[in-house]
C-alpha cells in the first residue's frame, strides 16, 4: 500500500503573522517556519498504518518554498520512507485552488492508495484542501477522522464534524484528514534522525508535473487579495486583583458594555 502524507511548513504559532504590503503574501521571513503541528498527527497515523500492514510505503509530500524541505525531513526522521518536495518560484502566491491542483498532480505522480492530511493549516486555517484533493483525485473522501482502520481495500473512519459523530466506510483509494484526538505523535529518535539522512528525497517543479506557469501561482489562482488591513485588537485590558469585590466589578463592567 502506498500512503502519501501531506505536511506543510507554517510560521511558528506564537509569532505574529502578517501579509507583506504590496503583494499581500504571507510574510514568511517574519517568523520561523515550523511543521504545521496538525500534520504531525497525519504522519503518526501513516506510520501506525505502516506498522500494522506489511508492504506499506509512506511518502511525505510538501509544496512550498526552499526552506519547506525541513518539514519533509522531519517526517522522514519520524519514520516516513521517502520524501517529495514540490518547489518552484512560479508557485508563489498559489491559492487553495492552485495548491490542490499541484498537490493532486504530485500525488498522482507518486502513486497512492491512501492520502493522509492534517485537518487544517494553522496559518491560513482554511480546512478545505483535503476535500478538494478527494474531488480532484476521484478518491473517496473520509475526512475529519478521529479513528482510522484499514481492512484490505476498505477503510473505516470515525468522523467528528461539528457536534456530530459519524461512522463512515470507504473503498480505497481514499483521502483522510485526521483530527488531533486521533493519536499522540512520536518524536524522532536518534536512530530515526540518522536514518533519515539516507532516505530518498525528490524535488519536483511545476513543469515536472506538467503544469504551465500560467496555471499556477498568482497567475493561475481563482482568488486574489486586493487589500489587507491590520486591526489592532481594541481590548480594554483592564486587570484587577480580587479583593472580595471581583464579582460586583465584573457585573459593573458587563453593565457598562450593555451585556447584561
Amino acid at each position: 500500500m502506498r500512503v502519501v502524507v501531506l505536511v506543510k511548513q507554517v510560521p511558528d504559532t506564537w509569532s505574529p503573522k502578517r501579509l507583506r504590503p504590496g503583494d499581500f503574501l504571507l510574510d514568511r521571513a517574519a517568523a520561523d517556519g515550523v511543521v504545521n503541528e496538525l500534520d504531525t498527527y497525519a504522519v503518526e497515523e501513516a506510520l501506525r498504518i505502516k506498522e500494522k500492514h506489511d508492504d506499506t510505503t509512506v511518502i511525505a509530500l510538501t509544496m512550498g518554498p526552499p526552506p519547506a524541505v525541513e518539514v519533509v525531513r522531519k517526517a522522514l526522521q519520524m519514520g516516513a520512507d521517502e520524501g517529495v518536495h514540490v518547489v518552484d518560484d512560479a508557485l508563489a502566491g498559489s491559492d487553495a485552488m492552485v495548491s490542490s491542483l499541484v498537490l493532486a498532480a504530485a500525488i498522482e505522480r507518486i502513486g497512492f492508495d491512501l492520502v493522509i492530511t492534517g485537518v487544517e493549516s494553522t496559518d491560513a486555517r482554511m480546512g478545505v484542501l483535503p476535500a478538494m484533493l478527494a474531488e480532484r483525485l476521484g478518491a473517496a473522501q473520509a475526512t475529519l477522522a478521529a479513528e482510522v482502520k484499514v481492512d484490505g481495500r476498505e477503510i473505516s473512519v470515525r468522523r467528528l464534524a461539528g457536534g456530530r459523530e459519524f461512522d463512515v466506510v470507504a473503498p480505497l483509494p481514499a483521502v483522510v484528514s485526521v483530527v488531533e484526538k486521533i493519536n499522540e505523535p512520536r518524536y524522532p529518535s536518534f536512530k530515526g534522525i540518522m536514518a533519515a539522512k539516507s532516505k530518498p528525497l525528490t524535488t519536483l517543479s511545476a513543469a515536472d508535473l506538467g503544469l504551465d506557469s500560467n496555471r499556477v501561482g498568482l497567475a493561475g489562482s481563482a482568488t486574489e487579495v486586493v487589500a489587507a488591513e491590520e486591526r489592532s485588537a481594541e481590548r480594554a485590558r483592564v486587570v484587577i486583583h480580587d479583593e472580595g469585590d471581583a464579582a460586583a466589578r465584573i457585573v459593573e463592567f458587563l453593565a457598562s458594555r450593555k451585556l447584561l
Partner: protein, 321 residues
C-alpha cells in the same frame, strides 16, 4: 434579479443561526435561494422564508446525505450549472468548508473561507475575511467562476424579511464512483443550552475548574446568562465535558458578544478559537496567564469563589428587572 445560493445547515429541519446570517448577507447581493438537503429539510422552509429566502430547493432523498460531502456537492454543482448564481454561501463549519472546497473544484470557481462581509465593488464581488485570529482584515476578489464563500457565524445580525418561499423539489443526483458512505450518526447530547457556535454569550472553563463536579459552577453561570458552555482542551481531555464543548484550533471557533474564560491559561490553540469574541472576560489566579493579553476585563483570583458570587449577582439583577 440574479440568485445567491445559501446552503442550509439544519438538523431535522431546525435551521442553525449562521444560515440566517448568510441569508441576510445574501439578500444584500441578490435574490436569496436556500438549498436544504437531508431528512426534515421540508420543515425548514417556513423559517428560511422568514429570513427572506424567495425560493427553497429541497431534496429529502437520504441517498444525498448518505454519501459524505460528495452527495451535496453533486446537487449543488447541478444547481450552479442550471442557475448561474452570483455566489454560493455555505455556513463556516468544518463540513461547510469541505462542501465549499469540493464545490469550488467542481465548478472551477474561487473559494474563500470565514467571510465576515460581502459587497459589490464596480460590478465585482468583494469578500472580507478575518485572518490570523482577527488581527488582519483581508479583502479578496474572485477572479474566476462562481464565488464559493463560507460564512463565519456571528459576523452580522440576522434580520427577518418575511416572504412566502416557492418550494422546488430537486431530484436526487446520481452519484457514481468510490465514495465514503455514512453508516451511523450520533448526536452530541442535547443540553437545553444554546449551541456553542451560535450563542451570543459563552462561559468556558479550563483545567483550573478542577473537576467534572466543579463544572456545575460554570454551568450555573452560563444558565444565569442564557449562555453556552465551552471548555479548553485540558478540560475535555480530562473528560469533564464532552469533546464537542472544546473551543480552539481543533475545537469550535466562536465569535460571541461575550466570552468568559474561567481557569483557562490562554494557550495559542485556545485563543485561535475565541479571540474574535467582541468582549472577553477572564478569571485566572495566575497574573501572568496569557489569557489576560486578550481580555477586556481580567480578574486575578480564585474562580471557585468568584464564579458563584458572579452567578448570584447576575441572578439578583435579573430578579430586580
Amino acid at each position: 434579479m440574479s440568485q445567491v445560493l445559501v446552503v442550509v445547515d439544519h438538523l431535522d429541519g431546525v435551521v442553525s443561526r449562521p444560515v440566517l446570517e448568510a441569508l441576510t448577507a445574501a439578500r444584500g447581493l441578490g435574490e436569496a435561494v436556500a438549498v436544504a438537503v437531508g431528512s426534515g429539510s421540508g420543515a425548514a422552509v417556513e423559517r428560511l422564508g422568514e429570513y427572506g429566502a424567495t425560493e427553497v430547493v429541497v431534496c429529502e432523498d437520504p441517498s444525498v446525505t448518505s454519501v459524505l460531502v460528495a452527495g451535496v456537492v453533486e446537487l449543488l454543482a447541478r444547481l450552479v450549472g442550471e442557475r448561474a448564481p452570483l455566489a454560493v454561501l455555505v455556513p463556516s463549519t468544518p463540513e461547510g468548508k469541505e462542501i465549499a472546497g469540493r464545490l469550488a473544484v467542481r465548478i472551477d470557481g474561487g473559494v474563500l473561507t470565514d467571510v465576515v462581509e460581502v459587497r459589490w465593488d464596480g460590478g465585482e464581488l468583494r469578500a472580507v475575511q478575518a485572518a490570523f485570529g482577527g488581527s488582519t482584515m483581508v479583502t479578496s476578489r474572485v477572479r474566476r467562476g462562481v464565488p464559493v464563500l463560507t460564512w463565519r457565524p456571528n459576523s452580522l445580525a440576522a434580520t427577518p424579511a418575511p416572504v412566502s418561499p416557492r418550494v422546488t423539489e430537486a431530484p436526487a443526483p446520481t452519484i457514481s464512483g468510490g465514495h465514503a458512505r455514512v453508516r451511523a450518526t450520533r448526536m452530541a447530547a442535547a443540553s437545553g443550552r444554546p449551541a456553542l457556535t451560535e450563542a451570543s454569550v459563552v462561559v468556558a472553563g479550563g483545567r483550573g475548574v478542577g473537576s467534572a463536579e466543579n463544572f456545575r459552577l460554570i454551568e450555573e453561570l452560563a444558565d444565569a446568562l442564557g449562555a453556552a458552555v465551552g471548555a479548553s482542551r485540558a478540560a475535555t481531555d480530562a473528560g469533564w465535558l464532552p469533546h464537542t464543548a472544546q473551543v480552539g484550533q481543533t475545537g469550535a471557533t466562536v465569535s460571541p458578544d461575550l466570552y468568559i474564560a474561567c481557569g483557562i491559561s490562554g494557550a495559542i490553540q485556545h485563543l485561535a478559537g475565541m479571540q474574535t469574541a467582541k468582549t472577553i472576560v477572564a478569571i485566572n489566579k495566575d497574573p501572568e496567564a496569557p489569557i489576560f493579553q486578550v481580555a477586556d476585563f481580567g480578574v486575578v483570583g480564585d474562580l471557585h469563589t468568584i464564579v458563584p458570587q458572579l452567578t448570584a449577582e447576575i441572578r439578583a439583577r435579573r430578579v430586580q428587572e
